[in-house]
Amino acid sequence: MNALALCAESVAAAPGRNEKIARVAAYLRTLSDDDLSRAVLYLSGQTFPASDPRKLSVGHATLRPALAEVTGWDLETIALCYREVGDTGEAFALLLRPLGHLTPLSLVEAEQLYLTLAAARRTAQKLDLLIRIFRTYHWLAIKYFLKAITGNLRIGLQQKMVEESLALATAVPVEQVRAAHNRSGDLARVARAARHGSLDSIEAVLFHPLDFMLAKPLDAAAELADPSQWLVEDKYDGIRAQAHIAHGQVRLFTRGLEEATAAFPEILLALAHLPGPLILDGEILAWRDGRALAFSVLQPRIARKKVSAKTIADVPVIFLAYDLLMAGGHLQFEVPVELRRRRLETLGLPHLAPQTSLHLREEIETHFQAARARGNEGLILKRSGSLYESGKRGGHWLKVKRPYGTLDVVVTAAEQGHGRRASVWSDVTFAVRAGDRFLNVGKAYSGLTDDEIKKLTVLFKAATLERFGRVSLLRPEVVLEVAFDGVQKSPRHKSGFALRFPRILRWRTDKRPEDCDTVDRVRELYESSLRS
């Protein structure tokens, strides 16, 4: 871990992507096979491979008391230091440095410590172990030991760049490294195989989510060259998900690669009989009388660890399949879309999305209107003969969507960002007007340039009414235009509504807070979404 930490510090200071990758590759070349496997994991902010079910379950509530015990700093000071630094690993390392512990931490010891932490059942055991770690090892090693736990090294090295570094260090094409990592979810195994030229032997693993193929927006039908080369399906407004099925076991993973199995017991029952090992790509939908209900109806079913019989009766859900990633244990990425479709049709699925072929450009509008009439969001076009490009938005899938609309909102609170954005207030909460009050409808993190964020931070600081840790309540002054994909009910926001996937389109310096949209307008949008 000491050498990894030195490598990481040098990567942080390296100018540009290529130089960072070169430095990581140079470090990886010096390592034994076992250490190579460990280093690629830790450098990509993982303690265990993604496909490994083990979890550390170590958070502020355990880490901070352990640090307090070792350094003598009280929790309030530790929280304040964390706030100023914006990263747990770095803040802890700075507080441990004066103690001058020098014991180096090897990668194999780090692995043992992660294993022990994961195995510890009780918080007290984790606490004791963390205290021992903080009392022993060099602060710089602890900095990166903790960053791997919190999941982000904040040195400008994304997971893709670790894959590239590994490819460079082992002289293997990066696409092969990426593909093997995607299918196995085990970068440690991939690293060893890359070095030994045996990436082909790495097989797809069930019950670990694969990257989804993504669609590019088609802004105008006129942009579509050669209309006869496309297949058409409805675009559904539910939860994009993968169903992994084998031996009567079913697990569901969402687009964020999170597991959602527990929330949808009836889907498990509906799919369990299918011949495995099988992986389906599709949509979780609220469903009644042969058609999908609005996303807002599905909402009470989302992100639940348990679900009551009443909820299941109130909001029945299905898994609507529309693509095939694995059949009979074989990955289908290299199989053309028509053949994948034919195989899907032979499976005897309870729900399969209808598909037709496109002939004329003009038909896009007809199909689109029909999809809207069925209560769906729009269309997905899949190019004839295309393969399943896992993790790519390569233009072989196109989506036709009506923009839901935009709202002018006013910023009512801002929060310090993390890492690179620790010094700016980049995360904003925004509101719409209700008479002379402003009621929150959402939070957004993206859409503004670094320069705009810097300028806004100055305005936000001047408009601060009160600070609560990282969050500041603001006088409503700054107006933003936000785009979003829908409106849903929200107990969290005072307006009673939340925008789905809000992103900032622009900073409306031309508008005043009293010019922004009203809560009535938001209610209208919500109600029209229920009717459609």
């Binding site: 540009g16 000071t77 630094v85 690179r420 010094s423």
Partner: protein
């Protein structure tokens, strides 16, 4: 002695003296020449010779305007309205000083901006005991730990040498008064070529007057593509004539103690060296003063005062967060 912490600065009503006032006042002690401490044409200014010389450079006296100027050497006392004022050396920038105020048997020390470790250019801090200490807390959290002067010099020289050897231009970001001159001094003393931005170069004569030498520095010219190290003020790295791929940037600052300074400043390399005290230095100064009453000004006033109280000190945040009556 009564001490009023006001928005305009620290005021001692019994002797009608302001310490580092931000607004125009009658009589002002200027602890050092940074513009957030020495600003405006007060009727009387008291400070060290170097401080007042740089202050005059930045705040020239218009013709016909009168000002009483009272330059003092360190440890040279001035009797002022029943009190005795004695400047004490402060390690910060050239000429920086603490002020010892002795009044009716009470000893008060106002540190101004200060650190305990010796600076690259400037004098070391003089520690004296006092009854009441007014101390700054710019870096009053334990995460702030800095290099000492010799380590900082070594890092500055190494960065310049390595970058030049790679055929690139090393750019140093440092404040216009203090840090900038220290970097130029470090580079020129190591025999490295360097070009200096006007905001920094304009004050080099005041350092030369105090005996510091800067052999061979060149004025920075905006349109010229440099083959030497550049010393500029923060933010300037974006307006250089050289393509950014040819440039490596180092931030020399106390804020460089935290990694996010990289994104904030645009620097590649962080050299955590400050002219303010690190957290352990602040504690050491408090301890050495033996003061029974500590007022904390600037920066992390409340957290630092709280940490002092946890250590048994009678300490209070005396920032401007609590506005007192407004002086007209």
């Amino acid at each position: 002695m009564e001490i009023a912490f006001r928005n305009e600065g620290i005021y001692l009503p019994q002797i009608d003296l302001w310490l580092d006032p931000r607004a125009l006042v009658e009589h002002a002690w200027l602890s050092h020449a940074h513009s957030d401490h020495a600003r405006g044409l007060h009727s009387t200014v008291i400070g060290t010779r170097a401080t007042l010389a740089i202050y005059r450079h930045r705040w020239p006296l218009p013709p016909g305007r009168l000002q009483q100027i009272l330059p003092l050497n360190p440890n040279e006392s001035l009797d002022w309205r029943g009190a005795r004022l004695t400047p004490l050396r402060a390690a910060h920038i050239l000429g920086a000083a603490q002020l010892l105020i002795e009044y009716q048997g009470e000893r008060i020390v106002y540190t101004g901006d200060i650190k305990l470790r010796a600076p690259i250019c400037g004098w070391p801090t003089q520690l004296v005991s006092c009854d009441r200490l007014i101390i700054e807390s710019t870096f009053g959290l334990p995460i702030y730990q800095f290099l000492d002067a010799s380590a900082a010099r070594a890092r500055i020289v190494l960065f310049a040498q390595e970058t030049l050897a790679a055929g690139l231009t090393p750019v140093f970001l440092g404040y216009g008064l203090g840090r900038g001159q220290e970097i130029v001094h470090t580079l020129t003393q190591a025999g490295l070529p360097c070009s200096v931005h006007g905001a920094i170069a304009g004050l080099l004569p005041y350092y030369e007057a105090e005996g510091y030498e800067f052999p061979g520095w060149q004025p920075y010219q905006r349109r010229k593509v440099e083959t030497s190290a550049l010393v500029v003020t923060p933010g300037m790295q974006d307006s250089l004539a050289i393509p950014s791929a040819q440039v490596r940037v180092a931030l020399v600052s106390g804020w460089a103690a935290v990694d996010s300074a990289r994104a904030r400043s645009g620097a590649d390399v962080l050299i955590p060296y400050s002219d303010h005290a690190s957290f352990p230095e602040l504690l050491e100064m408090v301890h050495a003063s033996g003061a029974s009453h500590i007022d904390v000004v600037h920066g992390y006033t409340e957290p630092f005062a709280r940490l002092l109280r946890l250590r048994g000190h009678n300490a209070h945040a005396a920032g401007t967060a609590v506005p007192t009556e407004v002086q007209v």
